[in-house]
Amino acid sequence: MSEVLNGLATGFGVALSPFNLMLVAFGCFAGTLIGALPGIGPINGVAILLPIAYGLGLPPESALILLAGIYYGAEFGGRISSILLNVPGDAGAVMTTLDGNPMARKGEAGRALSISAIASFIGGTVAVVLMTLFGPLLSKFAVAFSPSDYVALMVFAFASLASLVGANPVKTLVGASMGLMLATIGVDANTGVTRYTFGVPDLLAGIDFLIVVIGLFGMAELFHLVEQQATGKLKTLPIDSSFVKWADIVFGRWTLIRSSLIGFVIGVLPGTGASVASAVTYGTEKRIAGKSGTFGEGDVRGLMAPEAANNASAAGAMVPMLTLGIPGSGTTAILLGALLMFNIQPGPLLFTQHPEIAWGLIASMYIGNIALLIINLPLVGLFARMLTLPQHYLTPLIAILAFIGIYSIVGNPFDLFMIIGLGIFGWILRKLDFSLAPVILGFVLGSLFENNLRRALSISGGDWGILVQSWQSLFLYGLAVLVVIVPLILSRRRRA
């Protein structure tokens, strides 16, 4: 316990410096805006702003604080367009449209916005508290992991990814393995042998992480927006003066607590983030409420559940990223890649070797959640006005930001063509129902997976049996089997 308190003291020391406070505030504001704008979600926002944050030469903890602020800020802001436009601001806010928009149509937009802001705040804060308590424990448990245990952990990560993300597990799996394949390009660090470089010197160090991220998320999103280009003008519902009442919170207290906990756990599971968390909690609350609920017609609980859950999952997703080096969602995969660019390998040792990063991030999230509540209650009208920002300015702006970010890293115009090409590829993948998050997850985890496999086999002298020798690895393989089987059984039972 004293360790947690010491850590928090360190963390607040980092996060409360004026510069980092400014970054938290800016990240939360930009995140809310990115979340509120229909189409652009947290993953695209973080992707587009990552190279700029890198180019500014921020110290790693500050860059992470800023990018994380954008991430959970966007989960906060996604609800605004769900409620006012009936268009989800991002994937995690899809369920929010179901009850949020009917409330706004009944003339309770102000109430819906303030209730969901408070639900988001509670979800986010509960999850950060859990993160503070369990993060250090998990990292202590994982310090003892041998390379073969890490291999088992990766297998579990990809199993839960394939089982829980996307409609078609084969497409999710192949997305991840394409990411792993992309990561093999370049010089093999163990032997100095070049792989798949075809004599191109630019590829010796591998494909740049930033180029993959901006291409697959920034540029592919741009093509998606051009394709979806709405002809008519979107009309936002007016925000009235109705406001959240104490009775609303008391009425929904169990919903808030349940959804925060479920959201956190789903966030922790590798690869699954806000969209799964909000869908699961909405379904759970609907089933629990039974006939007493008016879900789909503006039930407060149907609004609270997904909002508490998607914010809780954002914090939950950071737990495995910080403690195990395995991202809990697509967006945290990008954050993980960002840390790797600063030559920091997240993992069990992060809490002891770089306390300023791990604890600084956690402390900044406490501050960020409060900042978001303040930003979102009185300033919600400002964001609502920005929703009407015409898409024909927004779309070119994404390209301009992406170009600035990529060019400013090394000043190589060839990279600009690379991101256009990857953007087209990413758009095709999306059109064919491949999700892109597994690709980036595979890309980020590629070398970790391979190196641990090779290290394990070096230890055993080539005997593959080492992979199943420790109880930790057997436990993880068991979890991997469970995570694949349980959803299958549940869906079969629902059909029967």
Partner: protein
């Protein structure tokens, strides 16, 4: 059908990747039992199997993109390629003003508003990013 074409093309790419892993990559000397080739070999087998499954059991029939949308998308690609090509030659301000004008015009802004948007973003973006934040952006024709 779209699924099949994509999976077919990617299967060929994966097979080429696998062929290299099995027959081309090898280390002159190595200390670990797996070497640089085993991991790509495993990946190529898994990926090839997955694409083969998609090829046999596709679930997305078509991309469902209407002809005008295809035209708009192709124009976007052309504009982006032009923007990338002129980025260094004309410099950030002029290239961005041109791209901003044409792209926003294509997506529905009027010529005047599009031009204003492009010019403002070009100049303001340069001042903000290159002067204030000291990011590396090409100045091109306009030298300060």
């Amino acid at each position: 059908m779209a699924d099949r074409i994509f999976a077919g093309v990617m299967l060929l790419v994966t097979l080429a990747y696998g062929w290299l892993a099995f027959f081309a990559i090898s280390a002159p000397f190595q200390y670990d039992p797996l070497g640089p080739e085993t991991w790509p070999q495993i990946l190529s087998i898994v990926t090839a199997l997955c694409f083969a499954v998609i090829l046999l059991r596709p679930d997305t029939d078509s991309m469902q993109v209407a002809r005008p949308t295809w035209i708009r998308l192709s124009l976007t690609v052309v504009l982006l390629l032009g923007y990338a090509e002129l980025y260094e030659r004309l410099g950030f301000i002029i290239a961005t003003a041109l791209f901003g004008t044409l792209a926003s015009r294509m997506l529905g802004a009027t010529w005047l508003k599009g031009f204003l948007f492009g010019a403002v973003i070009g100049v303001a973006g340069y001042l903000l990013c290159a002067e204030l934040l000291e990011l590396n952006l090409p100045s091109g024709l306009l030298t300060f």
